[in-house]
Amino acid sequence: MFKSKIRDKIASHEMSITVLMIIPLILLFFFSFLIGRYPVSPNEVIMAIASKLFLINSTLSPAVNTIIFDIRLPRILAAMMVGASLSVAGASFQGLFQNPLVSPDKLGVSAGAGFGAALAILFSASVFMIQFSAFVWGLIAVGLTYFLGRAFKGTSMLTLVLCGIAIASLFGALLSLIKYVADPYGQLQTIVFWLMGSLASVNNLDIIIMGIPITIGTIILLMIRWRINVLSMGEEEAQTLGVNTKRLQAIIIVCCTIVTASAVSICGIIGWIGLVIPHVARMIVGPDHKILLPASIILGAFFLLLIDNVARTITTTEIPLGILTAIIGAPFFLYLLMKSKEVWS
C-alpha cells in the first residue's frame, strides 16, 4: 500500500524519490565515521568536517584528524564510489542488453582486471601498478570483446555478449595460469585476497585518481539516461525512433567499462552489487532509467558503505567484501523477491 502510494506520487512528479533516498545515505555517511577501533565522538566528526569545509582552525587532536581524514574518510568515500559505480554500470548494461540478468562485468571487464592485477602481483609491482594494470587490462578485455563482436558482423547485442563470455573465460584461464605459477606463500595469497575484494588499503590519492574517470563516466551515463529507455525497447525500434543506436551503444559500453574498471582497480572484484542493486532500485522506483539511474547510484553507495562497515567491524580480521556482499545481499534480495509481486516472468 505504502509503496504504491509513493509510486503514485512519483508518477505525478510531486516528489523526487532520489531526494528521499539520499537522506539515509547522508545519515549512514556520518555514522560510518564513528565505527572502528579508535572511538570518535559524533561531535568530533561534525567539528572536523565543519572545520575543513569552512576553513576554521580545528581544535581537535592530530590523532583524531588523521583518523577521520586519512583513514576513515577515504574508505567511506571509496565504498560509496565503488558501490555507486557498479550499480550505475549494472543498471545501464541491463537497459543496453534489454536483459535484467546482465551485470557490468558481462563484457569481460572484471576478468581482464583480475588478470591484470594478478600479472602485476606476479611481477611484485607496487600497489599503484597493480591498480593501473587492473584498470588497463579491464579496458583491454572489453576492447577485445567489442572489436571481435564488430568483426563478426555482429550487429546484435547477443553476439557481443557471446564474445564477452569467450573473452572472460580466456582471461579467467590466464588468471588461473598465473595463480598456478605464482609463489604459493606470498603472491598467491595476495592474488586470492585481491580477487575477493577489499577497501582496507584505500588512500586519498586513490580516491582522487579513480574518482575522476568514475565521475566523468557516471555524469555521461546520467546525461543520456532517458535514451537508455528508448534503447531498451530493442535496437530496431530505437532506430525507428531516431536513435543512433550504434553510437549510443558505444557510449554506454565505454562509460560503463571505464567506471567499472576504475572501481574494480581500487577494491578488487566485488560481484553481486552490479546485478542486484539495479533490481532493488527498479522495485522501488520502477523501470524508467531517468529515475532508475540516480536511484541505483544512491542505493549502491548506501549498500556497499553498509557492507564495508560490517566488514571492518564484525571481526578482528577483516572479511573480504566480495564474500559479505553475497552473504548479506543474497538473503536480502530473496526477501525482496518474496515481498514484491513484480517478479520477472
Binding site: D8, A11, G95, Q98, N99, P100, M223, I224, R225, W226, R227, N229, V230, S232, M233, G234, E236, E237, A238, Q239, T240, L241, G242, V243, N244, T245, L248, R282, G286, P287, D288, K290, E342
Partner: protein
Amino acid sequence: MSHLMEMVNGTFSYNSLDNIFEDINFEVEKGDVFCILGANGAGKTTLIKCLNGLMKLSSGKVLLNGKNIYGLNHSQIARNIGYIPQIHNSTFSFTVLDVVLMGRAPHLDIFSSPSKKDVKIAENSLKALNIYYMRDKPYTEISGGEQQLVFIARILTQEPDILLLDEPTSHLDFGNQIRTLNIIEKLAKNGLCVVMSSHFPDHAFISSNKVAIMKGKNFIDIGTPEEVITEENMEKAYGIRVKIADIDYRRACIPLKIK
C-alpha cells in the same frame, strides 16, 4: 512535384545472389492507405523495413519528398516516418506514458529528456485514442489490443508524415482488427500517409485506397482495391479460390473451401 514517398527500382537481397524482391516501383501521397498483400515469406516485412532505412536496398532508391532517405540520419528519418513492428518483445515494465513519450526521441538531442511540452504531446495522443485512463499502467500488463493502441499513440507522438505498419492487425482479435483499421482510416483522413502490410485482403477493402500484391520478387498487380483484389489475383497470390462479393455497402473477399 515530388511524391511524399517513392520507391524507385527497389531491389533487395541478403546475400547478393538471390533477390528477395527486385525492381519494385510505387509512390504514396498524403492521405493514402497503401496495403501490401502477399503470402508468408513474400518479402513484405523486408520491403517495409527498406522504406525507413532499417534495411538497405541493394539497388534502387527510396525518396522522401524527392530526397534519398539513405542521405538522412536516424532522427531526420524518424521525424518523417514512424514504424510499428510486427512483434514487440518487452523487457521492462514501463508505464504507458513512458512508452508513448519515447515517440519524442527524434525531436530531442542525445542529452535531453522530454520536457513538459513533450509530456503534453504524448498525453494528447493518448486522449486522441481514448486510452488516457491507462496512462500510468505498466504497458506489459495490458492486453494485446491495448498495447497496439499504445504503439499507435507513440507513433502519433512522433508526429511523422508517414506511418509504416507491419501487419498491424495480425495479433488482434476480430473486433480490435476492425477498430484498428478504423483508426488507420481516420489518421489518413487527417492527412497522414499509411503504408501497411497485411494478411487479410478483405482489410484492404475496408481501409485502403491503394493495394499491391507481392509475389515472386515483384508486385503482380498494384492499384485500387477493386482493381487488384480479384478472384484471379488472389488465386495467383495465395493458391486458394476466393469469392469477391458486394455485401451491404462494401466489397468483401471471402475465401472458399479447398475441395
